[in-house]
């Protein structure tokens, strides 16, 4: 499967999940560190495809609304550039069938 197809697959799957989304991000990246980063691990490791690298600015765009709160990005970021918190009380992903 190529990258594009995987992203489409993830998006379709995310549509099955309920969220109570807040209007403030719980994931903050340090774009200074991101620009230095060669691996861009967050851009392929996230099971919800939360992190997208902007082609022009090379900055990391965080689609926090899709976050499954697994923590994979935080642990695998080689620059330790992700400030990772839980969403505010009662917010974020709601798994009902897992």
């Amino acid at each position: 499967m190529d990258n594009k197809e995987n992203k489409k697959s993830i998006q379709e799957k995310l549509n099955t999940i309920k969220y109570n989304c807040g209007n403030k991000t719980h994931l903050v990246v340090d774009n200074k560190k991101c620009k230095k980063c060669k691996q861009k691990t967050c851009s392929f490791i996230c099971p919800a495809n939360v992190y997208v690298i902007d082609d022009e600015t090379k900055e990391t765009i965080v689609q926090y609304e899709n976050c499954l709160e697994c923590g994979a990005c935080r642990i695998s970021c080689p620059q330790e550039a992700i400030e990772w918190c839980y969403p505010e009380s009662g917010q974020g992903v709601i798994f009902k069938n897992s």
């Binding site: 109570n20 392929f44 009380s89 009662g90």
Partner: protein, 442 residues
Amino acid sequence: MSNDFNTDVIVVGAGPAGISAAIEIAKNGRKVVLLERAQYPGSKNVYGGAVYHKALEFVFKDQVQELPYERIINEHTYSFLNEDSSFEMTYKNANSKNAYAIKRFNLEHWMIEQAKKQGVYYSPNTLVKKLIENNGSVIGVETEFEQYFAPVVILADGVNSLLAKKLGLRENFKSKNFILSAKEVIKLNKKIIEQRFNLKEDLTNGVNKQYFGSDFGKLKGIKNLFMMSYLYTFKDTISIGVGVNLEDLAKTKLNINEVLDAVKQHPDIAPLIEDGQLIEYSAHLIPEGGFNNLPKLYANGVMLVGDAAGFVNSVHFEGTNFALVSGKLAGETALIALDDNDFRESKLSVYKEKLEESFILKDLYAYRNVIELLHSRANSLSVYYPNKIKEFFEIVTGVSCTPKAKEFRGFLIQFIKDRKISELFKDIYAFSKCALDVLLGK
């Protein structure tokens, strides 16, 4: 209870570990507040699909009879997959009641109801932002809205335990010590599930399948990956997932979702979920560091339980049992500390003693090298032996009209010649060390 405290114990996180700890404390007459960041219990939690009877009984006694499970899991299949073939072993005991398939949303809801009956004060929608310390002791928690004080705080805040990290109990989060698992819950007609898996209609049996092997060809980088896939039957859904080491995912640049899609397309698995409707996708981390990477399990006024403590035996898909039992043991320790009015680290070391006496630290110790050893032999387990199994059964079942002796001799010669002989010895060493460690235990 001193006037400065709002309650005897605060438990952070209402999963199996936190609920179990809270119940132990409440049923012995002490005050306990159980804080959960989610709106609904269980809605942040993911697992493969089964919770174990003995561990539930340890906490909930006879109440376990009322657990609203979907199916009893009493058929276990171990399957080695190749690109287009598989070898499967099944153990089935239709009378056994060791494990139940139940969704976490329902499991945690049920456990919370039991906890409330025992007098646990449950507070959902409550995110703990940080721990309050005084003179090197944890004395409470700070939520978004207020501060709660208690002489003992039990951290059951899951695999990411940000609170334990802030406190300095867990410093080294390394990606090689975690598995990332993605899972799909697929809806099918109840009757179809029963036909496909040969199950009884009365929900008294169900299947857990564990799959080894990664030589699926199509996905670049998947070969040689050490991964374990799983499937559980529920009433009218099937859960299917895969777990891969986080460091391996980073190295191979694979996304766990595409690995899961590859697993679902395997000719052995695809027919089982055919025509099913995906009703929920999820992902979660599993602490895999084991005994050699445990955090500091207690300090002045605080204890770690469940995933927050890294209590998982991923070889056997065990986690909820470690959570339930470690929670109870931390609860027992808190009761002793309250009786003696001593909450220092030296007193809370009782928790460690209890863990050492139980299966928790015994098993974690016995398995301390197993995952790393198996992981180091990823090619053997995921590619080489599954392929050799295939070659062997092609001879046994092939009816190729060539003399069997010639074929078997050829198989044995190729078994040794197909790769460096040293690889065979490395396998023998790794597998016998695993077996010996587990047998010797602690």
